[in-house]
Amino acid sequence: MTIELFVVAFIVFMLIAALIAVEARDLLSSVIAVGAAGFGLSVIDLLVGAPDLALTQVVVEVISLVLLIRVVLTRNDTSATEPQDALRTGVALLAGGIILVIVFFAVGGLSQQGGVPPFGQPVLSNTPQAAVPPGVSADYLARSADQTGAANAVTAVLLDFRAYDTLGEATIIFVSILGTYAVLRRLGRRGREARA
């Protein structure tokens, strides 16, 4: 129960940070607030037994914060003064409310039937005789060290059982860096001056 309290506390912290990030007048504080939300996420990762993710989240957060601050500082004036479209705001808020209501029922808000498994009791903790057996992760946990020789089951999943996904993941970083180079070319077409 204590873990749930901590998790809720940190999610509320993230929500507040996210709201500040979205509504702040100053872009620099907005970017820093979203960084704070990311660090909140890495603490949650630590709480729920995911140190791999906590580590990765922190370092990724540092890099993306540097990137974002760099783009904010492109302009000397860092305030956001764009007027907001009332219609789009209304539509967004309405849609958000509908999503939350649907989600409340989908996660079993009123009854425990028909929703996603409650927090702390995933399909993984089912008995093998249950209607939905524990799933593929039970096998990973039971045999990853014997089958792959790695002590870290997450790495075993990432680099042996599901290494093909990781190939895709490495490709994504490659593609996006290549895309960054492509977008940052000073001239896209030959023999034409860049238009401002």
């Binding site: 999610i11 791999d52 993710l53 539509v91 702390g120 039971a142 990853s144």
Partner: protein, 117 residues
């Protein structure tokens, strides 16, 4: 309490989508996409947690049997992939934002409108 955790997570998702839909500033849109990313990553990690479970990592002296009660490693592997996707997208978005600022002189999407609707 468990329901509250999931609903709050989706609340974070809604905040992110709200920023993407309603905000006009490119930086705010990027921030919104980052928040959407956080929300979904967090949902995956939380769905893998089980009561009393530790990290799915063996330390010297433990045997495989001691790992069978730890949390689910598969969502963690998925989230790791998703974090990397988010980082790649952030790099690309930042590059595009810098370039758009150079071309249009603004971060305001309502003034970045040279294409006919």
């Amino acid at each position: 309490m468990g329901t509250a955790i999931y609903v709050l997570t989706f609340g974070l998702l809604v905040v992110g989508i709200y920023a993407v839909v309603a905000k006009k500033n490119i930086i705010k849109i990027i921030v919104g996409l980052l928040i959407v990313d956080y929300a979904i990553n967090m949902l995956l990690v939380l769905m893998g947690y089980r009561n009393g479970g530790g990290a799915p990592i063996l330390v010297p002296g433990e045997s495989q049997a001691q790992m069978t009660s730890s949390v689910d490693p598969l969502p963690q592997a998925m989230v790791l992939t998703s974090i990397v996707i988010g980082l790649g997208l952030t790099a690309l978005m930042v590059a595009m934002a810098v370039r758009l600022y150079e071309k249009y002189g603004t971060f305001d999407m309502s003034r970045i409108r040279r294409l006919r609707g």
